[in-house]
């Protein structure tokens, strides 16, 4: 019963698990790089969720061809693409900051950085 529910909604469960993993990494892990990894996992889970919602069984790419009846909804893909660009910008900027922080303080441990 529960198993059937999980199998039927598998992508959603994966995305929830990934979301929590990412959130945990961002809040609890002390290493700054691991926080950035958490950020990436978190945003990936959101993208996975949006993409799996847009998926249709047997749907074709949304370009009009005469014999195709069912198209995949293109809008969530556009949202996800934009979201990926945003995540890329955030990640690269966070990495630059991490390098700068490491050069200045010689550590990536957020607890030690708090004491400084």
């Amino acid at each position: 019963m529960i198993l059937e529910l999980i199998v039927a909604n598998f992508p959603y469960f994966v995305s929830v698990v990934l979301f929590l993993v990412g959130l945990y990494a961002m809040i609890v892990r002390r290493n700054l790089i691991k926080k950035i990894m958490g950020l990436n996992i978190l945003s990936t889970s959101v993208f996975l969720y949006l993409i799996s919602v847009a998926y249709k069984e047997g749907g074709a790419p949304p370009i009009r061809v005469s014999e195709v009846e069912v198209y995949v909804n293109p809008l969530p893909h556009a949202l996800v693409l934009t979201g990926i660009v945003v995540a890329l910008a955030l990640t690269s900027f966070a990495l630059v900051l991490t390098i700068k922080i490491y050069k200045e303080y010689g550590t990536l441990d957020s607890d030690k950085l708090m004491d400084l």
Binding site: P61, I63, L81, V85, L88, S92, L95, V96, I99, K100
Partner: protein, 140 residues
């Protein structure tokens, strides 16, 4: 650690990568793809160069100055096309209104291609910059 194998493969691969990137950019109006995706591929070819050779050889081909110029002109081109539509009496990015001797649908296709190229120029400079700046930070 870069060996002769890596260097040779990269040297063969880079032109094809860039060609593929340009293909994706100009094919944007009629198939999946477009400025962003193609631009990233072209930018990635510079990253491959920096990884397989060294930073300075990538810097030689895409110097800081060139990247900034490409970055800005790409973005300004995009805004310029949008503002051009205002000048000829339409609303922002209303491509169909631009007076060219063809059907409005064709004008739209052409303008989407131009916008795609503008975004492609912008993104290829940006993607290369992201990596090269990070690597420079790390080196110094």
């Amino acid at each position: 650690m870069t060996t002769i194998v890596i260097k040779t493969i990269a040297r063969v691969l880079v032109p094809f990568l860039q060609l593929f990137g340009f293909y994706i950019i100009v094919h944007g109006p009629v198939s999946p793809g477009g400025g962003f995706q193609g631009g990233v591929i072209v930018g990635a070819s510079m990253i491959l160069l920096a990884l397989s050779y060294d930073l300075s050889s990538a810097e030689d081909r895409a110097s800081h100055k060139v990247r900034i110029i490409m970055d800005s002109t790409g973005a300004l081109l995009f805004a310029g096309i949008g503002l051009l539509c205002l000048l000829v009496g339409g609303v922002f990015l209303e491509y169909g209104i631009i007076p060219l001797p063809m059907a409005p649908a064709e004008v739209r296709g052409l303008m989407i291609l131009l916008v795609g190229v503008a975004i492609g120029i912008h993104i290829m400079a940006l993607a290369a910059s992201l990596f090269l700046h990070l690597a420079e930070e790390h080196d110094t």
